[in-house]
Protein backbone atom coordinates (compact mmCIF):
# COMPACT_ATOMS: atom_id res chain seq x y z
CA UNK A 1 0.00 0.00 0.00
CA UNK A 2 2.83 2.37 0.86
CA UNK A 3 4.38 1.62 -2.46
CA UNK A 4 1.28 2.62 -4.36
CA UNK A 5 0.78 5.67 -2.19
CA UNK A 6 4.31 6.88 -2.89
CA UNK A 7 4.01 6.17 -6.58
CA UNK A 8 0.75 8.02 -6.73
CA UNK A 9 2.22 10.98 -4.88
CA UNK A 10 5.04 11.40 -7.35
CA UNK A 11 2.59 11.67 -10.17
CA UNK A 12 4.55 9.19 -12.29
CA UNK A 13 3.16 5.86 -11.16
CA UNK A 14 3.37 3.94 -14.38
CA UNK A 15 6.94 4.91 -15.25
CA UNK A 16 8.17 4.18 -11.74
CA UNK A 17 6.39 0.86 -11.50
CA UNK A 18 8.13 -0.23 -14.66
CA UNK A 19 11.45 1.06 -13.35
CA UNK A 20 11.17 -0.78 -10.05
CA UNK A 21 10.13 -4.03 -11.68
CA UNK A 22 13.01 -3.74 -14.12
CA UNK A 23 15.60 -3.62 -11.34
CA UNK A 24 17.33 -7.00 -10.93
CA UNK A 25 16.28 -8.81 -7.84
CA UNK A 26 13.19 -6.78 -7.12
CA UNK A 27 10.74 -8.90 -8.96
CA UNK A 28 10.34 -12.63 -8.50
CA UNK A 29 11.22 -14.79 -5.50
CA UNK A 30 14.48 -13.44 -4.10
CA UNK A 31 16.04 -13.49 -0.67
CA UNK A 32 15.03 -10.51 1.42
CA UNK A 33 17.52 -8.00 2.73
CA UNK A 34 17.26 -9.43 6.24
CA UNK A 35 18.85 -12.65 5.02
CA UNK A 36 21.65 -10.65 3.41
CA UNK A 37 22.09 -8.78 6.66
CA UNK A 38 22.13 -12.02 8.68
CA UNK A 39 24.70 -13.53 6.36
CA UNK A 40 26.85 -10.40 6.66
CA UNK A 41 26.47 -10.32 10.45
CA UNK A 42 27.42 -13.99 10.79
CA UNK A 43 30.45 -13.34 8.61
CA UNK A 44 31.45 -10.30 10.63
CA UNK A 45 31.21 -12.19 13.94
CA UNK A 46 33.18 -15.03 12.39
CA UNK A 47 36.05 -12.74 11.34
CA UNK A 48 36.13 -11.30 14.86
CA UNK A 49 36.41 -14.83 16.30
CA UNK A 50 39.07 -15.74 13.78
CA UNK A 51 41.26 -12.77 14.69
CA UNK A 52 41.11 -13.74 18.35
CA UNK A 53 41.85 -17.40 17.55
CA UNK A 54 44.82 -16.51 15.39
CA UNK A 55 46.33 -14.51 18.25
CA UNK A 56 45.61 -17.22 20.81
CA UNK A 57 47.09 -19.97 18.64
CA UNK A 58 50.27 -18.05 17.86
CA UNK A 59 50.80 -17.10 21.51
CA UNK A 60 50.08 -20.60 22.71
CA UNK A 61 52.49 -22.08 20.19
CA UNK A 62 55.28 -19.76 21.38
CA UNK A 63 54.48 -20.51 25.02
CA UNK A 64 54.50 -24.26 24.40
CA UNK A 65 57.98 -23.92 22.90
CA UNK A 66 59.17 -21.84 25.82
CA UNK A 67 57.93 -24.34 28.40
CA UNK A 68 59.41 -27.23 26.42
CA UNK A 69 62.80 -25.50 26.39
CA UNK A 70 62.62 -25.02 30.14
CA UNK A 71 61.52 -28.61 30.68
CA UNK A 72 64.32 -30.05 28.57
CA UNK A 73 66.87 -27.70 30.13
CA UNK A 74 66.04 -29.37 33.45
CA UNK A 75 67.15 -32.68 31.91
CA UNK A 76 70.23 -31.74 29.90
CA UNK A 77 72.02 -28.96 28.01
CA UNK A 78 70.31 -27.43 24.99
CA UNK A 79 72.50 -26.64 21.97
CA UNK A 80 72.34 -23.02 20.84
CA UNK A 81 71.36 -24.12 17.33
CA UNK A 82 68.11 -25.60 18.68
CA UNK A 83 67.33 -22.41 20.56
CA UNK A 84 67.80 -20.57 17.27
CA UNK A 85 65.61 -23.10 15.45
CA UNK A 86 62.77 -22.42 17.90
CA UNK A 87 63.26 -18.67 17.48
CA UNK A 88 62.99 -19.13 13.72
CA UNK A 89 59.81 -21.24 13.77
CA UNK A 90 58.22 -18.80 16.19
CA UNK A 91 59.11 -15.88 13.93
CA UNK A 92 57.73 -17.76 10.93
CA UNK A 93 54.53 -18.47 12.80
CA UNK A 94 54.07 -14.80 13.64
CA UNK A 95 54.66 -13.88 10.02
CA UNK A 96 52.05 -16.38 8.78
CA UNK A 97 49.64 -15.20 11.48
CA UNK A 98 50.08 -11.62 10.27
CA UNK A 99 49.20 -12.71 6.71
CA UNK A 100 46.11 -14.55 7.94
CA UNK A 101 45.09 -11.58 10.06
CA UNK A 102 45.47 -9.24 7.11
CA UNK A 103 43.15 -11.38 5.05
CA UNK A 104 40.74 -11.67 7.97
CA UNK A 105 40.65 -7.86 8.22
CA UNK A 106 39.77 -7.58 4.53
CA UNK A 107 37.06 -10.16 4.96
CA UNK A 108 35.69 -8.30 7.98
CA UNK A 109 35.51 -5.07 5.95
CA UNK A 110 33.68 -6.89 3.20
CA UNK A 111 31.10 -8.39 5.57
CA UNK A 112 30.65 -5.09 7.39
CA UNK A 113 30.08 -3.20 4.17
CA UNK A 114 27.69 -5.86 3.00
CA UNK A 115 25.82 -5.49 6.27
CA UNK A 116 25.79 -1.70 5.98
CA UNK A 117 24.29 -1.97 2.55
CA UNK A 118 21.75 -4.61 3.57
CA UNK A 119 20.59 -2.60 6.57
CA UNK A 120 20.91 0.88 5.06
CA UNK A 121 17.77 2.85 5.52
CA UNK A 122 17.61 4.24 2.00
CA UNK A 123 14.23 5.95 2.25
CA UNK A 124 15.60 8.04 5.11
CA UNK A 125 19.01 8.76 3.70
CA UNK A 126 18.54 9.22 -0.01
CA UNK A 127 20.61 8.42 -3.00
CA UNK A 128 23.85 10.12 -1.96
CA UNK A 129 24.34 7.81 1.00
CA UNK A 130 23.50 4.84 -1.14
CA UNK A 131 26.07 5.92 -3.66
CA UNK A 132 28.79 6.27 -1.04
CA UNK A 133 27.95 2.94 0.60
CA UNK A 134 27.86 1.15 -2.70
CA UNK A 135 31.17 2.70 -3.72
CA UNK A 136 32.73 1.65 -0.43
CA UNK A 137 31.48 -1.88 -0.93
CA UNK A 138 32.92 -1.80 -4.41
CA UNK A 139 36.34 -0.82 -3.10
CA UNK A 140 36.38 -3.65 -0.58
CA UNK A 141 35.01 -6.00 -3.19
CA UNK A 142 37.90 -5.05 -5.44
CA UNK A 143 40.27 -5.95 -2.65
CA UNK A 144 38.76 -9.42 -2.60
CA UNK A 145 39.58 -9.51 -6.30
CA UNK A 146 36.38 -9.73 -8.16
CA UNK A 147 35.81 -7.31 -10.98
CA UNK A 148 32.07 -7.88 -11.09
CA UNK A 149 31.23 -5.27 -8.53
CA UNK A 150 33.40 -2.69 -10.27
CA UNK A 151 31.29 -3.16 -13.32
CA UNK A 152 28.24 -3.18 -11.12
CA UNK A 153 28.84 0.20 -9.52
CA UNK A 154 31.53 1.57 -11.85
CA UNK A 155 30.92 5.29 -11.43
CA UNK A 156 27.21 5.06 -12.19
CA UNK A 157 24.89 7.45 -10.57
CA UNK A 158 22.37 5.53 -8.50
CA UNK A 159 20.15 8.52 -7.86
CA UNK A 160 16.63 7.50 -8.84
CA UNK A 161 13.40 9.43 -8.80
CA UNK A 162 12.11 8.05 -5.53
CA UNK A 163 13.61 6.75 -2.32
CA UNK A 164 11.66 3.56 -2.75
CA UNK A 165 13.41 2.84 -6.00
CA UNK A 166 16.78 3.54 -4.36
CA UNK A 167 16.01 1.03 -1.63
CA UNK A 168 14.88 -1.54 -4.15
CA UNK A 169 18.03 -0.97 -6.16
CA UNK A 170 20.15 -1.77 -3.11
CA UNK A 171 18.37 -5.08 -2.63
CA UNK A 172 18.85 -5.87 -6.27
CA UNK A 173 22.53 -4.97 -6.04
CA UNK A 174 22.95 -7.21 -3.02
CA UNK A 175 21.46 -10.14 -4.86
CA UNK A 176 23.54 -9.39 -7.88
CA UNK A 177 26.70 -8.94 -5.79
CA UNK A 178 26.35 -12.33 -4.12
CA UNK A 179 25.35 -14.04 -7.36
CA UNK A 180 28.37 -12.72 -9.22
CA UNK A 181 30.79 -13.25 -6.36
CA UNK A 182 29.48 -16.64 -5.30
CA UNK A 183 32.46 -18.69 -6.46
CA UNK A 184 34.85 -16.42 -4.54
CA UNK A 185 32.74 -16.50 -1.38
CA UNK A 186 32.33 -20.27 -1.68
CA UNK A 187 36.10 -20.78 -2.05
CA UNK A 188 36.73 -18.40 0.82
CA UNK A 189 34.40 -20.23 3.21
CA UNK A 190 35.76 -23.62 2.17
CA UNK A 191 39.32 -22.48 2.90
CA UNK A 192 38.21 -20.99 6.21
CA UNK A 193 36.90 -24.45 7.20
CA UNK A 194 40.36 -25.83 6.50
CA UNK A 195 42.02 -23.03 8.49
CA UNK A 196 39.83 -23.59 11.53
CA UNK A 197 40.45 -27.34 11.52
CA UNK A 198 44.21 -26.69 11.41
CA UNK A 199 44.00 -24.11 14.19
CA UNK A 200 41.93 -26.47 16.36
CA UNK A 201 44.48 -29.29 16.00
CA UNK A 202 47.40 -26.97 16.67
CA UNK A 203 45.65 -25.39 19.64
CA UNK A 204 44.89 -28.74 21.24
CA UNK A 205 48.42 -30.02 20.70
CA UNK A 206 50.01 -26.95 22.27
CA UNK A 207 47.57 -26.99 25.19
CA UNK A 208 48.43 -30.64 25.89
CA UNK A 209 52.16 -30.12 25.58
CA UNK A 210 51.94 -27.11 27.90
CA UNK A 211 49.94 -29.13 30.40
CA UNK A 212 52.37 -32.07 30.31
CA UNK A 213 55.44 -29.88 30.68
CA UNK A 214 53.88 -27.89 33.51
CA UNK A 215 52.84 -31.03 35.33
CA UNK A 216 56.40 -32.29 35.04
CA UNK A 217 58.12 -29.06 36.08
CA UNK A 218 55.67 -27.63 38.58
CA UNK A 219 54.07 -30.73 40.09
CA UNK A 220 56.07 -33.95 39.67
CA UNK A 221 59.63 -32.65 39.88
CA UNK A 222 59.09 -30.51 43.02
CA UNK A 223 57.27 -33.45 44.63
CA UNK A 224 60.22 -35.77 44.01
CA UNK A 225 62.72 -33.15 45.13
CA UNK A 226 60.78 -32.51 48.32
CA UNK A 227 58.42 -29.63 49.05
CA UNK A 228 59.06 -27.60 52.21
CA UNK A 229 56.00 -27.41 54.52
CA UNK A 230 55.68 -23.68 53.79
CA UNK A 231 55.29 -24.38 50.06
CA UNK A 232 52.76 -27.20 50.29
CA UNK A 233 49.61 -25.07 50.01
CA UNK A 234 50.98 -23.31 46.97
CA UNK A 235 51.90 -26.66 45.41
CA UNK A 236 48.35 -28.01 46.01
CA UNK A 237 46.78 -24.99 44.32
CA UNK A 238 49.22 -25.14 41.42
CA UNK A 239 48.60 -28.85 40.92
CA UNK A 240 44.84 -28.34 40.85
CA UNK A 241 45.14 -25.42 38.45
CA UNK A 242 47.25 -27.42 36.02
CA UNK A 243 45.17 -30.60 36.22
CA UNK A 244 41.85 -28.82 35.76
CA UNK A 245 42.95 -26.53 32.92
CA UNK A 246 41.05 -27.64 29.81
CA UNK A 247 43.18 -28.90 26.94
CA UNK A 248 40.34 -28.92 24.44
CA UNK A 249 37.80 -26.29 23.52
CA UNK A 250 34.62 -27.81 22.15
CA UNK A 251 33.60 -24.64 20.28
CA UNK A 252 36.93 -24.61 18.49
CA UNK A 253 36.61 -28.23 17.45
CA UNK A 254 33.22 -27.69 15.89
CA UNK A 255 34.11 -24.27 14.44
CA UNK A 256 35.01 -25.83 11.12
CA UNK A 257 31.50 -27.33 10.98
CA UNK A 258 30.04 -23.93 11.87
CA UNK A 259 31.70 -22.42 8.80
CA UNK A 260 30.32 -25.32 6.75
CA UNK A 261 26.85 -24.38 8.02
CA UNK A 262 27.42 -20.78 6.97
CA UNK A 263 28.49 -21.98 3.55
CA UNK A 264 25.27 -24.01 3.27
CA UNK A 265 23.26 -20.96 4.27
CA UNK A 266 25.13 -18.95 1.65
CA UNK A 267 24.29 -21.54 -1.01
CA UNK A 268 20.64 -21.21 -0.04
CA UNK A 269 20.93 -17.43 -0.22
CA UNK A 270 22.27 -17.37 -3.77
CA UNK A 271 19.73 -19.98 -4.85
CA UNK A 272 16.88 -18.22 -3.10
CA UNK A 273 16.03 -21.26 -1.00
CA UNK A 274 17.57 -20.31 2.32
CA UNK A 275 15.39 -20.07 5.38
CA UNK A 276 15.87 -17.71 8.29
CA UNK A 277 16.72 -20.56 10.66
CA UNK A 278 20.03 -21.32 8.93
CA UNK A 279 21.22 -17.78 9.49
CA UNK A 280 19.98 -17.82 13.08
CA UNK A 281 22.01 -20.99 13.57
CA UNK A 282 25.11 -19.43 11.99
CA UNK A 283 24.78 -16.32 14.17
CA UNK A 284 24.39 -18.49 17.25
CA UNK A 285 27.37 -20.71 16.30
CA UNK A 286 29.69 -17.80 15.73
CA UNK A 287 28.57 -15.94 18.82
CA UNK A 288 29.52 -19.04 20.86
CA UNK A 289 32.82 -19.29 18.98
CA UNK A 290 33.57 -15.64 19.66
CA UNK A 291 32.95 -16.09 23.38
CA UNK A 292 35.17 -19.18 23.43
CA UNK A 293 37.91 -17.36 21.53
CA UNK A 294 37.78 -14.41 23.91
CA UNK A 295 37.85 -16.75 26.92
CA UNK A 296 40.86 -18.52 25.43
CA UNK A 297 42.56 -15.19 24.86
CA UNK A 298 42.02 -14.27 28.49
CA UNK A 299 43.07 -17.69 29.77
CA UNK A 300 46.22 -17.91 27.68
CA UNK A 301 47.39 -14.47 28.71
CA UNK A 302 46.63 -15.11 32.38
CA UNK A 303 48.22 -18.53 32.73
CA UNK A 304 51.38 -18.14 30.80
CA UNK A 305 52.65 -15.00 32.35
CA UNK A 306 52.80 -16.71 35.71
CA UNK A 307 54.29 -20.02 34.66
CA UNK A 308 57.69 -18.98 33.39
CA UNK A 309 59.18 -17.96 36.72
CA UNK A 310 57.87 -20.97 38.58
CA UNK A 311 59.07 -23.33 35.88
CA UNK A 312 62.50 -21.74 35.79
CA UNK A 313 62.95 -22.26 39.49
CA UNK A 314 62.67 -26.02 39.28
CA UNK A 315 65.60 -26.69 37.03
Amino acid sequence: MIVFHRLKRTGRPFALALLVLAIPGVSGCRPNSQQHADFAKAGAIYTQSLSALLDVSANQSIDAHSVQLLQKRSIGPIPETLVQDFAQVDADRLQTTARLRHHSALLARYFNQLNDLATSNAPDHGADDVNSTTKALTQVGDELRNPSLTKLAGGRDFALPTQLAVSALIRGRLNSELQKRQSTVRAELKTQEELLAALADDNEQNARVLSNARQDLQVSTPLRAGIPPSGEEEWIVRRRTILTAPTTVEELHIASEDVAHLREAFEGLVQGTSGREKFDQALSDFSALLLAAQALQHRTGGNDSGSGGAVGGTS
Binding site: S61, H65, K72, F86, R93, T97, L100, V209
Partner: protein, 68 residues
Protein backbone atom coordinates in the same frame (compact mmCIF):
# COMPACT_ATOMS: atom_id res chain seq x y z
CA UNK B 1 50.94 -41.63 4.79
CA UNK B 2 49.55 -38.18 4.04
CA UNK B 3 51.11 -34.95 5.29
CA UNK B 4 48.29 -34.59 7.78
CA UNK B 5 48.83 -38.13 9.06
CA UNK B 6 52.58 -37.50 9.36
CA UNK B 7 51.92 -34.35 11.35
CA UNK B 8 49.45 -36.25 13.54
CA UNK B 9 51.99 -39.00 14.25
CA UNK B 10 54.76 -36.55 15.07
CA UNK B 11 52.42 -34.66 17.38
CA UNK B 12 51.63 -37.92 19.23
CA UNK B 13 55.36 -38.55 19.70
CA UNK B 14 55.95 -34.96 20.84
CA UNK B 15 53.15 -35.29 23.36
CA UNK B 16 54.51 -38.54 24.75
CA UNK B 17 57.99 -37.08 25.11
CA UNK B 18 56.66 -34.15 27.12
CA UNK B 19 55.14 -36.31 29.90
CA UNK B 20 56.42 -36.51 33.44
CA UNK B 21 57.05 -40.24 33.13
CA UNK B 22 59.40 -39.90 30.18
CA UNK B 23 61.18 -36.88 31.64
CA UNK B 24 61.64 -38.62 35.00
CA UNK B 25 63.08 -41.65 33.26
CA UNK B 26 65.66 -39.64 31.34
CA UNK B 27 66.62 -37.55 34.36
CA UNK B 28 67.88 -40.83 35.82
CA UNK B 29 70.11 -41.63 32.81
CA UNK B 30 73.75 -40.74 32.21
CA UNK B 31 74.77 -37.39 30.74
CA UNK B 32 75.27 -38.68 27.19
CA UNK B 33 71.80 -40.19 27.09
CA UNK B 34 70.21 -37.10 28.62
CA UNK B 35 71.94 -34.81 26.15
CA UNK B 36 70.84 -36.94 23.24
CA UNK B 37 67.26 -37.13 24.51
CA UNK B 38 67.06 -33.35 24.91
CA UNK B 39 68.40 -32.72 21.42
CA UNK B 40 66.26 -35.28 19.63
CA UNK B 41 63.02 -34.55 21.45
CA UNK B 42 63.39 -30.83 20.85
CA UNK B 43 64.21 -31.55 17.21
CA UNK B 44 60.86 -33.33 16.89
CA UNK B 45 59.10 -30.27 18.31
CA UNK B 46 60.89 -28.04 15.80
CA UNK B 47 59.76 -30.30 12.95
CA UNK B 48 56.17 -30.30 14.26
CA UNK B 49 56.26 -26.51 14.37
CA UNK B 50 57.74 -26.31 10.87
CA UNK B 51 55.03 -28.61 9.47
CA UNK B 52 52.29 -26.66 11.24
CA UNK B 53 53.70 -23.41 9.85
CA UNK B 54 53.83 -24.94 6.38
CA UNK B 55 50.19 -26.04 6.70
CA UNK B 56 49.07 -22.57 7.79
CA UNK B 57 51.29 -20.93 5.18
CA UNK B 58 49.63 -23.02 2.50
CA UNK B 59 46.18 -21.95 3.72
CA UNK B 60 47.29 -18.30 3.84
CA UNK B 61 48.46 -18.65 0.23
CA UNK B 62 45.08 -20.05 -0.81
CA UNK B 63 43.28 -17.19 0.90
CA UNK B 64 45.57 -14.64 -0.72
CA UNK B 65 44.57 -15.87 -4.15
CA UNK B 66 41.09 -14.64 -3.21
CA UNK B 67 42.42 -11.19 -2.35
CA UNK B 68 45.33 -9.07 -3.59
Amino acid sequence: MTQTQLLGSLRAVELRLSTSEVSAFFRGQNETTRTRFVQESLQISVVVAQLTNAQLDDIAGKLETLSP
